[in-house]
Amino acid sequence: MSKGNVSRFQMVTIAVALLIAAFIVLVLLGVVTHSPLGVLIECLLSEEIQFAVRLSIITSVVSTLLCILVAVPVAYALARYTFPGKSLMNMVMDIPMALPPLVAGVGLLLFFGVSPIGKALDAVGLTFVFTPLGIIVAQFFVNLPYMLRVTRSTFQGVNPRYEYVAKTLGCTDAQAFWRVTLPMSWNGLLAGSVITWSKGIGEFGAALMLAGATRMKTETLPLSLFLNMSTGKLEFAISAATILIMISIVSLYVFERYGGATHVY
C-alpha cells in the first residue's frame, strides 16, 4: 500500500540507492580507519611514501600539462572545423580510453623498447622504459582521451558566433580563440585538467608495464600500494591508499563544481 505520495516503487528505488551509497562509504572508511592514526602518520612521513607522493605529483602534473597542451588544439579542430577523416580521427583518439591500461602499456613498451623510433629516442637520451619518464608517457597516453573529450565538448558549448563577432572587431582566428573562446572555456578546462590529473595520479597498469615497479625509482602511490601489499607491509599500502582516496574525493568535488558550468554559454 502506498502512503501519501510515496509509492512502494519509489521507496524501493531510494532504498537501493541508500544501500549502495552506504556500501561505498563503508569500503572507503574501512581503508582509512584500518591503521591506528599514529601508525598511519608514521607511514605517511616515511621516506618511501614521501618518495611515492613526490614522484606521483611530479609525473601527474607533467602528464596533465602535456595532455592540456595537446588536447586544446586537437579538441578545437574537432569542435570547429570539418576535414576529411574527422570522424575516424575522433574514434581513434578515444581508443586508449576503452583499452585495458595493461594493453596500452604493452604497446608503449614495444614502441619505446624495440621500435626504431623508440631506439632513436633512447639513443639521444630519452629513455622511457623502466624510468620515471615512462610513467609520464603512460599517464599521458591513457588519460589524453579524457582531457580531449571534456575540452572538445567545452569548445562545442561556446557558440561560434562569439568568434565571428570577435573577427568583425579585428581579431585573427588565433586572437579570437585567445581572447574569447579560451577564457569562456576556463571552467571546462579546469574540470578536464582536474579529472585528468586525478586519473594520472592513480594510473597503474600502463605505468607498470612501461616503467616497471622498482622501489624508490618508479614507485608512484599506486605502485607503492601494489609493492607493499605484495610484500606484506600492510600499513604502508594503507597509507598510500588513504592518500589516493583523499585525492579522488577532492578532484571529484572540483570536477562537479566547475564541470557542471561547462555549457553556461
Binding site: 558566433r161 572587431l169 581579431c171
Partner: protein, 352 residues
C-alpha cells in the same frame, strides 16, 4: 555603397543563389524573409565570416570578396547579443579598439562616447550576465559602433526582446542611424520595424532576393505571389488582363492602374477595400455587390469574407464593423480604387 554582385554560397541546408543587392551610403536597408530564406548567411557573408562560392562584394568601391572579416570594417550585431560574458560592458565595447592597439586613453574616450550614445554609461562596470536583454543589446550595438564601421549589420536585433523594450530600442535605432549616418542592413520578420526604420526593403525567399523597393512599394505592389502572401495581401486572384486596363477575374471586370495583357495575378490588400450596405458611387472606382460570409474578430480588427462571385477578404476596424451592423448573409457593396489593385504577370513565384 555596398554592392553584392551575383553572390552564391552553399552551406548544407542553407544557401544563397545568385544574390545581387545594392545598398546606398547611409541607407537604412531592411531584409525581410521567412526562416531559412538565407538572410543570416547573407549578413555573415557580407561580414566576411564565409567567403562566397561565386560573385563579388564591393564596399565603397573596394572589392572585399576575399578580405578577411577583421579587415572589412563591417560591424555585426546578433539577436542574442553575443556579448563576451567574461568581460565587463566597458571591455566589451572597447574590445575591437584594443585589437587595433590604439592608446588606452583614446579607447576609454571612444567607449564613453559609444556608451553615451546608447545610454548605458552607468552600466560600464557590469558584466553582461547581470544586464537585461535591452541593456545587453545596447552594449552590443555600442561595441559595433565604436569601430565606426562602414556598414552595420543587424541580425534580428530586436527579436529576443519583450514588446515594450523592442519599441524603445526601435526608436533608438532610428535615432542612432540619424545621428551617425551609418549604413545599416537590418534583418527582421517584423513589419513594424520595416515601416518605422527602412528606407528600402528586400524580400528574401529560398536563398534569393525576390523584390527590392520602398516599404510602400513592397506592401502595395508585390511582384510575385510569394511576396504578396508574405506581406499579407489576402486577396490574390488569377485573371486575364486586357489592353484597356482591366483584368477579368471570374465574371468581374476589375479596373487596374498598371494593366497588362495576358494571364496575370491581381493583388488587393484587405484594408484597401471599402464596405457598405448602401450602393457606393463609382467615381472611377471598382464597385461590386456581394453577400457577407464569415466574420472573424481579431483583436481590434474584424475580417469579413464577401462573396461577390469571387471571394474578397476585407479588414475593418471593430468600431466601423459594429456601426455598419454587418451580419452574415447581408447584401453589401464593396469598392476599391484601381490603384489598390496591383497586377503582375501570372506564374511569377519568386520574382524571376
Amino acid at each position: 555603397m555596398l554592392t553584392i554582385d551575383s553572390v552564391s554560397k552553399s552551406l548544407g541546408e542553407f544557401s544563397l543563389t545568385d544574390v545581387s543587392l545594392s545598398v546606398g551610403d547611409g541607407e537604412y536597408f531592411i531584409i525581410l524573409g521567412p526562416t531559412g530564406a538565407g538572410k543570416t548567411i547573407l549578413l555573415e557573408t557580407i561580414a566576411g565570416i564565409y567567403s562566397p562560392d561565386a560573385g563579388r562584394i564591393l564596399l565603397n568601391g573596394r572589392d572585399i570578396t576575399d578580405v578577411p572579416a577583421r579587415e572589412r570594417n563591417v560591424g555585426m550585431v546578433y539577436q542574442d547579443y553575443m556579448l563576451f560574458p567574461h568581460l565587463t560592458v566597458e571591455a566589451n565595447i572597447g574590445f575591437g579598439l584594443k585589437s587595433r592597439r590604439v592608446d588606452p586613453a583614446f579607447i576609454r574616450g571612444k567607449v564613453q562616447e559609444g556608451a553615451d550614445l546608447l545610454n548605458i554609461s552607468h552600466l560600464l562596470h557590469r558584466y553582461p550576465g547581470t544586464l537585461s536583454g535591452g541593456e545587453q543589446q545596447r552594449a552590443a550595438i555600442a561595441r559595433a559602433l565604436v569601430m565606426e564601421p562602414e556598414a552595420l549589420l543587424l541580425d534580428e536585433p530586436l527579436s529576443a526582446l519583450d514588446v515594450k523594450t523592442r519599441e524603445t530600442l526601435r526608436a533608438e535605432l532610428a535615432r542612432i542611424h540619424e545621428a551617425t549616418g551609418t549604413t545599416i542592413i537590418h534583418i527582421t520578420h517584423n513589419f513594424e520595424e520595416v515601416f518605422d526604420l527602412a528606407d528600402r526593403v528586400a524580400i528574401m525567399h529560398g536563398g534569393d532576393v525576390v523584390q527590392v523597393g520602398t516599404p510602400e512599394e513592397i506592401f502595395q505592389r508585390p511582384n510575385s505571389d510569394f511576396v504578396a502572401g508574405f506581406v499579407g495581401v489576402e486577396n490574390l486572384f488569377c485573371g486575364e488582363g486586357s489592353p484597356d486596363g482591366t483584368v477579368t477575374v471570374g465574371d468581374l471586370r476589375i479596373r487596374v492602374e498598371n494593366g497588362m495583357p495576358g494571364p496575370v495575378s491581381l493583388a488587393i490588400r484587405p484594408e484597401d477595400i471599402l464596405l457598405s450596405k448602401k450602393i457606393l458611387p463609382e467615381n472611377g472606382k471598382n464597385v461590386f455587390s456581394g453577400r457577407v460570409g464569415t466574420v472573424r474578430q481579431n483583436g481590434g480588427l474584424v475580417r469579413v469574407c464577401i462573396d461577390a462571385g469571387i471571394p474578397f477578404r476585407v479588414t475593418l476596424t471593430r468600431q466601423g464593423f459594429e456601426e455598419a451592423g454587418f451580419t452574415p448573409g447581408d447584401a453589401v457593396y464593396l469598392a476599391f480604387r484601381p490603384s489598390a489593385a496591383h497586377v503582375y504577370p501570372s506564374g511569377v513565384q519568386e520574382g524571376a
